[in-house]
Each structure stands twice: as structure tokens, then as C-alpha cells.
């Protein structure tokens, strides 16, 4: 990854609102053609960070370059290269999709045939061709999200910022948005910065994930590396009743890192889950201790986040 060109680079980027520091000295390099996930809970400062990188908000400290242009000195050039698909639906509901697209295309300076073909192109990507002349107010939530994305593609950006693009959408539209992002990265080598508080999305879509909380990047790695680094595999055993001696014995078996009990469910954490599963299930069978059910949980970003911040993503 490090051999690829760096498209965005920030150094000590900071934003404060009165005494509240929303973004706290963030250092970040984003490579061309990658999908970078900013994973953090609501209020972590993700939107503020991308607001600065898209020139919506001026930073209070630090510096950044986007596509080789200084964020402050060359903000107009930065604007030509990036696009933001905001969390809010930045749409005019009383206009049709085509009228919305035409308005934004005009502001991007597109004219004539180029404008028409660009509108057609993004309508196709959003699969809204048949709805182009309907008022947006009549669209479903998912269709509005897709149009929101289509508007963000009008200027064929080098960097696309997607701010929680799947909030409130149906699974079909969510899949469509995912497919669109993958298509854009593959076809146009677009760089995508994707903020979300859904760890499944980050895990599925992103090449690298930044764990972000309280205005700081806690770690930034490829998804697999993060899972290996902080991942926590679990074996969950469900008993009818669970006496203390049983808990004590199982917890003393080799490779059991930690454990906890909730409602007759014993959860065992281990870095070597395969070994632990064999040991525990073998011992229970030998001693004829009945188990209602058992589950093995693979590592996920939720557990990575939990380990890094001490709290759950949706806390």
C-alpha cells in the first residue's frame, strides 16, 4: 500500500468549537485508489474531519494537502478534485432528479453536451434513469441516497467523501451503494473516504480502517491487520445452569485469555480459539456436562473498537 501515491496528507489537523476539540491533531495519509473507512461512534468528529478536507470548514491548526494542493491556499483547486456526499440529503425535494443534477452540474461549470452526458452517466450509476423526471419528494429514502451519491459524482472527483451514506436506507439500496463504490474504485481508480459507525460496512468495503474517537485516530491499518492486532475470538457456551466450580475449571484450561458469564452464558476470549474450543468441548464431553449450545465468534471491528476505546461503537 505504501508504494502507491499519497493523495491526501494531513499534519496535526485540528478543529475546535469554543472549548470543544472536535478534531485533535490528526496525522493521516490516504493513498490513491483506496477505500479508507473512518470508523467511530456518532459525535466522534468524523464529519468535522471530512468537512475540513472538503473545504467546508477551515482548520484551526495543522495543515493538509489534497491531490497535491494545499487545503487553505488552493481551496478552489481542491474543490475541483474532491466531492462530498453529505450525511444529510442535500437535495431539493420539489425539483426532479434531473433538475437537481442540472443545478449542481451548472455550479461545477459543466455545459451543453458534456453536462447532458455527465447527468446521464451518473443517473445510470445510481440506477435512476427511469425516475429522472420525477420530483425527488416522491422518492424512497434509498433512492434519495442514491441521487445524493449521483450528485457527488458529477465532477468525476479524484477523491469521494461519503459521510454515513447508508443511514436510513433499505438493504437493496445499501447493496446498490456498495456496488457503486466498488465500481467507481475499479473503473475510475477513485479514492473513497467512507465514514460510518457500522462496523460491518467498514469491514466489507474498506481497504484500510481508521479507528476514530474523540477527534483522534487511535489506529489505522488494513482491516485484516487490525483484526489480527486487536481481534478477539470468542467461544460462547450456553448452559442450563452454570455452577462456579465449572466456570473456574474452564477458565483454568490452556489458552483461555479471559472469560465472563452473563445469564448462564460463558464467553471465553482467546487468541487461539481453535485449541480452546477443542479443549473445552473435549473436557465437557469427558465429564458428561450437558451444553445447550455453543458458538464461535470470529473477530470483528466492533471488538477492535471495544479494545481500543473501552466502549462499544453504538454506546
Amino acid at each position: 500500500m505504501s508504494t502507491r501515491d499519497i493523495l491526501i496528507s494531513t499534519y496535526g489537523l485540528t478543529k475546535k468549537f469554543d472549548s470543544f476539540t472536535a478534531v485533535n491533531e490528526v496525522d493521516l495519509d490516504i493513498y490513491e485508489g483506496e477505500v479508507l473507512g473512518l470508523l467511530g461512534p456518532n459525535g466522534a468528529g468524523k464529519t468535522t474531519l471530512i468537512s475540513m478536507l472538503t473545504t467546508v470548514l477551515p482548520p484551526d491548526g495543522g495543515s493538509a494537502t489534497v491531490c497535491g494542493y494545499d487545503l487553505l491556499k488552493d481551496s478552489s483547486k481542491v474543490k475541483q478534485k474532491v466531492s462530498l456526499v453529505p450525511q444529510d440529503l442535500a437535495l431539493y425535494l420539489t425539483l426532479t432528479a434531473e433538475e437537481n443534477l442540472s443545478f449542481f452540474a451548472n455550479l461545477y461549470g459543466l455545459k451543453g453536451r458534456e453536462k447532458r452526458s455527465r447527468i446521464k452517466e451518473v443517473l445510470k450509476i445510481a440506477q435512476l434513469e427511469d425516475w429522472a423526471n420525477r420530483k425527488v419528494g416522491a422518492y424512497s429514502g434509498g433512492m434519495k441516497r442514491r441521487l445524493n451519491l449521483a450528485i457527488g459524482l458529477l465532477n468525476r472527483p479524484k477523491v469521494l467523501f461519503l459521510d454515513e451514506p447508508t443511514v436510513g436506507v433499505d438493504p437493496q439500496s445499501r447493496n446498490h451503494i456498495f456496488n457503486s463504490i466498488q465500481y467507481l474504485v475499479k473503473e475510475f481508480q477513485m479514492t473513497v473516504i467512507y465514514t460510518t459507525h457500522y462496523m460491518e460496512e467498514a469491514q466489507e468495503l474498506c481497504d484500510r480502517v481508521a479507528i476514530y474517537d474523540k477527534g483522534k485516530i487511535l489506529d489505522l491499518e488494513e482491516t485484516d491487520t487490525l483484526l489480527q492486532k486487536y481481534g478477539d475470538k470468542q467461544l460462547v457456551l450456553d448452559f442450563k445452569s452454570i455452577p462456579d466450580w465449572l466456570v473456574q475449571h474452564i477458565s483454568s484450561l490452556p489458552h483461555v485469555d479471559s472469560h465472563h458469564v452473563i445469564d448462564n452464558k460463558l464467553t471465553i476470549h482467546s487468541s487461539n480459539l481453535l485449541e480452546v474450543t477443542e479443549n473445552v468441548l473435549g473436557w465437557l464431553r469427558t465429564n458428561q456436562i450437558p451444553v445447550e449450545s455453543f458458538n464461535v465468534h470470529e473477530s470483528d471491528l466492533e471488538s477492535v473498537f471495544l479494545k481500543l476505546t473501552g466502549k462499544k461503537l453504538r454506546d
Partner: protein, 413 residues
């Protein structure tokens, strides 16, 4: 019980909406106060002396007597001079005509008045009346007429008496036992009196300030501009709400990421509001003209300039509201408060000339007063382009000031 919970929740929400409360309670209080003060003269409030410009073009004794008599009228406060270059100058006709727009009426004692009175020829006093006020000029005319009729009676008596004595002397001189015919003398006396009864020796002439057309101004000539200004302000304030709505739903944030400047975004919003307001004015004045036979004055160019400057100032005010309000509901509450107060104060609902003078002066802090004043100059007083340069200039200046502050102050996030 559920009913009570629902009502309690609604009241809780209501009492947390400060601007909603302001609209509910503060707006009516302000409007009631302004209306009551403005119309105090109609409802038996404390008597205020009417300041009446008096132009004395004649230096004779009769003119002096006339002024003295007018001075004794308690309801009148005569303005005999005006300041020019820091010096007090005797009131002139042109200055009085200018003042009448605010002062309701003026009295002109023309040159040759005293001579005409002395000779018993037709002397006249002129009352210049503000067409916006049909009551006070009538009162002034009555006061002047009362005085002049007393003067007229004395003059008639003098003239008739003099003629009678002359005749009598003539008769005595010719007293050579010629038979006197009293019928013929009575007839002669009647003949002397006749010209005075048909045409009083001092006549009160009335002149209206209206220049644009022969007929009296109609209520539409005042109401169409007045209410047009008010609704232009309402329309513009809805543009402020629309701007805040764009901020709330995120489109402004999106626009900020596009390769256009923040100023362009705001100026674009302003331009649409300005064009709407101008078009609104054009439609209302056209309807006023076509449907209500409203007078359009003598200067279409002046009228267009007033519409444009009013729309510009209203747009500036709307942008200022958007810059200072945090939410749409706040903007709606404040807009209603501001527009209704300005309309009551600035002459949208009644001509400013009928309100007390201190209130007329105070009203000019509002753009409504400058706007309605400018339109009245054109439509009621028949002024031209030159006459509305000041109000139009003030409105354009206000608009520019409001916009500058709004652009500095507006937050996109």
C-alpha cells in the same frame, strides 16, 4: 388524564420556543402600542398642537392682524420661519409645500393681501392641504374661514356704511327740497352690498398638494404601496427562512464543497429573493393600476427605482435576519415581529402624516417609512425622479449595509 399529558407536553414545547412566544405575546403588544400612539389624535388622546407652516408674503397690517389672530387659536402652532444655512429665514411657499407632506396643511397670506383688504377688493388666503389627510386641513380651513368671515363682515359693514354716508351727504348737499325716494336709496345700498355677498372680500382658497392628477387621491394610492411594501417584506423574510432551511437540511454544506465562493452562494440566494420581491411589487402595482384605478404618478422611471430600491432593502433585511437567526422557527418568529412592527410604524397601514410628529421622525429608522414616503411622493404628491432620489438612496444604502453585515456574519454550518 391522557388528554392532560398531551396538553402539558404541547405547552412545555410552546414555552421553550422563545420566538414563538415572542410572536404570540410581544408582537401584539408592540403593534397595539404603535397603533395606539399613532392614532392617538383620532381617539381623544392628549391634544397635540398642529404645527402649521404660515407663509406671509404680504407685509401690510391686515396680514399682521391675520397672523396674530391665527396665533390665538390654541390648536395651532404656527411655523413662520425655517432654517437655511444655519439661519432662520421667513417661511417660503416652496418650503411650506415640502413641509405639508409631514404637517398636514399650510397657510399662505399672499402679496397684496392687506391692500386688497383695505380696498375691499377680493383678497384671498390660501390653505395648502395634504391630500393624505382630509380632516386636519378642513379644520385649518375652518379656523381661517372663521377669522376671515369676521374680517369680511367688518369690511362689508365699513364699505356699506361709507357708501351710505357718502350718499347721505350727497343727498343733504343737494337738499333743495327735492323729494327723497327712500326706495331708490335702499336699492342702492343693496346694490353696494351685493358684490360682497356674492363674493366675500376675503376668500379662503384651498390647494391640494396633489400634482399628478386633477382628482383627489384615492385610498388605493396609499394602500397599494403601503401593503405592497409589507408583503414584499413578508416575501423576503420567507427567503430568510428558506436560506436557513438549506442550512438545516445540508444543501448549503454541499454547496460549500463546490468550486464557488461563499459570497456567490449568498449573493445567489439574495438575487432570487430580490428578483421575487421586485416582481411582487410589479404585479401588485399593475393590479392596483388595472383593477383599482390606482394612480401611477408622473414618473414611471421613479416608480421602478422605488420598487427596485424597496426590494433591495427588503432582501438585505432578509439576509440580515438569516445571518442572525439560528433556526428557521426563530427566523419566522422574528420576521413576523419585525415586519409587523415596521409596517405599523413605517406607514404601511396609514399615512405617516396623520401620526404625531415625533413618531414620524422615529419611523424613519425603518425602511418601510422611506419606502412608503417615496411612493407617496410619486403617487400622491406627483413628484418626479428627483423627488425620490433621497428615499431610494436611503433604501439602497440600508440594503447594502444589511447585506454587508449578513455576508460577514452568516455561518454556513
Amino acid at each position: 388524564m391522557s388528554m392532560w399529558h398531551i396538553a402539558r407536553k404541547d405547552l412545555q414545547i410552546l414555552f421553550r420556543d422563545i420566538w414563538g412566544l415572542a410572536y404570540l405575546f410581544l408582537a401584539p403588544i408592540i403593534i397595539i402600542a404603535i397603533a395606539s400612539v399613532a392614532l392617538s389624535g383620532l381617539y381623544g388622546g392628549p391634544t397635540e398642537k398642529f404645527k402649521i407652516p404660515v407663509v406671509v408674503e404680504d407685509s401690510g397690517q391686515a396680514a399682521k392682524d391675520m397672523v396674530e389672530a391665527l396665533n390665538k387659536v390654541e390648536a395651532l402652532d404656527l411655523i413662520l420661519t425655517y432654517k437655511k444655512d444655519g439661519k432662520e429665514q421667513p417661511m417660503t411657499r416652496s418650503e411650506a409645500e415640502e413641509l405639508v407632506k409631514d404637517k398636514k396643511a399650510a397657510i399662505v397670506i399672499p402679496k397684496g393681501f392687506s391692500k386688497a383688504v383695505d380696498e375691499g377688493k377680493g383678497a384671498s388666503v390660501e390653505v395648502i392641504q395634504n391630500p393624505a389627510d382630509q380632516v386636519i386641513p378642513g379644520v385649518i380651513k375652518n379656523v381661517v374661514s372663521e377669522y376671515t368671515s369676521r374680517l369680511s363682515t367688518a369690511i362689508v359693514a365699513n364699505q356699506v356704511g361709507a357708501q351710505s354716508i357718502q350718499n347721505f351727504a350727497s343727498v343733504v348737499g343737494q337738499k333743495h327740497n327735492l323729494k327723497l325716494d327712500p326706495t331708490s336709496e335702499i336699492s342702492k345700498v343693496q346694490d353696494y352690498v351685493k358684490p360682497y355677498t356674492e363674493k366675500p372680500p376675503i376668500e379662503v382658497k384651498t390647494k391640494s398638494l396633489e400634482k399628478s392628477k386633477g382628482s383627489t387621491a384615492t385610498p388605493f394610492d396609499y394602500n397599494v404601496p403601503g401593503y405592497a411594501v409589507m408583503f414584499v417584506l413578508f416575501g423576503a423574510s420567507s427567503a430568510a427562512s428558506a436560506l436557513l432551511e438549506e442550512r438545516e437540511n445540508g444543501t448549503l454544506r454541499k454547496l460549500k464543497t463546490l468550486p464557488i465562493s461563499s459570497q456567490s452562494i449568498l449573493l445567489g440566494k439574495m438575487l432570487s429573493s430580490f428578483m421575487t420581491a421586485t416582481f411582487q411589487c410589479l404585479v401588485l402595482f399593475t393590479v392596483g393600476y388595472l383593477v383599482f384605478d390606482m394612480n401611477l404618478g408622473n414618473s414611471i422611471l421613479g416608480l421602478l427605482l422605488m420598487m427596485i430600491s424597496t426590494a433591495f432593502a427588503a432582501t438585505g433585511l432578509a439576509m440580515l435576519l438569516a445571518a442572525f437567526c439560528k433556526t428557521r422557527s426563530q427566523a419566522s418568529g422574528i420576521s413576523l415581529l419585525v415586519v409587523l412592527s415596521m409596517s405599523a410604524l413605517g406607514g404601511s397601514w396609514w399615512p405617516l402624516s396623520i401620526v404625531p410628529e415625533w413618531l414620524q421622525k422615529f419611523a424613519h429608522v425603518t425602511l418601510t417609512a422611506w419606502s412608503t414616503g417615496g411612493f407617496s411622493d410619486l403617487l400622491v404628491y406627483g413628484g418626479g425622479l428627483v423627488d425620490i432620489l433621497l428615499p431610494a438612496g436611503v433604501l439602497l444604502g440600508m440594503g447594502l449595509l444589511f447585506l454587508t453585515i449578513a455576508i460577514q456574519r452568516f455561518r454556513f454550518e
